[in-house]
């Protein structure tokens, strides 16, 4: 067990590398399996010094449900954006919104910013304050640009409840 | 029949590329032009995918992957340059 731990410090990342290499070559010939295995062991080892420690995913079932929900939301958000784009410009009510966040870790923040960009008529602009490591205890804010801002409080509440709460549970932070 | 539909789709994506070119030339600011260029990258991937279906050949996907990666890296590099005046600090 100890041997496996030193060889594969991050099993999920190694598995991802293995699968991506096979997909790149589009084959499962023995030679590709060998090269994929070598890369899956070597790359995490070589890049370990550059990486900051991140909280692990604690609840995989919830994470899968989160992915499914985000994919569904992407489709719905697109239909909404298309409706806005095809309508006249003067009907748009663009605006900036500042969302106070409860999570402070870098990885959940990145995932939250990414999902918010892809989903409900919003693009995340910045996570403030910048320094994630020096003052990671300080509360974070997410600056958003919204294409059609109707009710600020409602939007903030829906982002917090729909995306932030599940992320908090997935990472248990 | 499928080939005709894919051909029409390719015409649509071609129009989208021309619109991107217009946005690229119109600007008015540098981030605007960069956004247009990035969209052009993505649309050319779409065109390659359609051509893959049209020609029934999976040879083009590697080119599509390359365009995706180069497009992403170059856009981020230019953004970084605009933010800091330097790409690698």
């Amino acid at each position: 067990m100890n041997f496996i731990n030193t060889l594969l410090p991050t099993p999920a990342r190694s598995l991802l590398l293995f699968v991506v290499w096979l997909l790149l070559n589009n084959s499962v010939a023995p030679i590709h399996l060998i090269v994929a295995a070598v890369l899956a062991v070597l790359i995490p080892q070589l890049t370990a010094p550059f990486r900051d420690p991140q909280p692990p995913i604690r609840r995989w079932g919830l994470a899968l449900r989160y992915i499914g929900r985000v994919l569904l939301d992407i489709v719905l958000a697109n239909l909404q954006v298309i409706k806005l784009v095809l309508g006249p410009n003067k009907n748009l009510r663009p605006g900036f919104v500042l969302v106070p966040l409860a999570i402070t870790e870098a990885l959940p923040l990145t995932i939250l910013a990414g999902t918010v960009s892809l989903t409900p008529g919003t693009v995340s602009a910045e996570i403030l304050p910048y320094q994630l490591h020096e003052n990671s205890a300080k509360p974070k804010f997410l600056l958003l640009h919204v294409l059609d801002l109707q009710n600020e409080a409602e939007l903030i509440a829906s982002i917090k409840q729909r995306y932030e709460q599940p992320l908090k549970e997935i990472f248990q932070c | 029949m499928l080939n005709q539909i894919v051909l029409i789709a390719m015409i649509g994506i071609g129009i989208a590329l021309l619109l991107n070119l217009w946005a690229l030339l119109r600007g008015p600011s540098v981030p605007d032009r960069l956004l247009a260029l990035d969209t052009m990258y993505i649309n050319s991937i779409a065109l390659l995918l359609c051509y893959g279906i049209y020609a029934a050949s999976s040879l083009h996907f590697e080119a599509a992957l390359l365009i995706a990666m180069l497009g992403f890296v170059s856009t981020v590099a230019v953004c970084k340059f605009m933010l800091r005046g330097d790409i690698i600090e």
Partner: protein, 118 residues
């Protein structure tokens, strides 16, 4: 045409429409910040459905196992928000003027203070 070909045709048409509308948004919307919404959302979803169409085509009609396209979709869905984030950061840094009627424009000025953690 078989029903599989109809599915492919539907996905290709939907993908093209999304891609086209993303590009129309780029031309039509009034300022940089609103223009950003078209390409990050519509174009990404359009490409997603095109990838789905070509996966159905190669795996079921051409009868060859081909999952490489999945990689294109995966990469684009990861890179699209990052690109948008970098672009809007560059736009804010250059202090591009938002269109008249943008709500809460004062947040653009406040962000310098917030960035330092005050």
């Amino acid at each position: 045409m078989t029903w599989l070909e109809w599915i492919i045709a539907l996905l290709v048409i939907a993908g093209t429409l999304f891609v086209l509308l993303g590009s129309v948004a780029l031309i039509k919307l009034p300022d940089f910040y609103t223009r950003l919404h078209g390409p990050t959302k519509a174009t990404t979803l359009g490409l997603g459905s095109l990838v789905l169409a070509s996966m159905v085509f190669f795996n079921f009609i051409e009868q060859q196992l081909n999952l490489q396209q999945l990689l294109i979709a995966l990469f684009l869905f990861i890179s699209a928000p990052v690109t948008a984030y970098m672009l809007i950061k560059a736009g804010l840094h250059q202090k591009l003027a938002p269109t008249a009627g943008t709500q809460q424009q004062e947040l653009m000025k406040q962000r310098d203070k917030l960035a330092k953690g005050e």
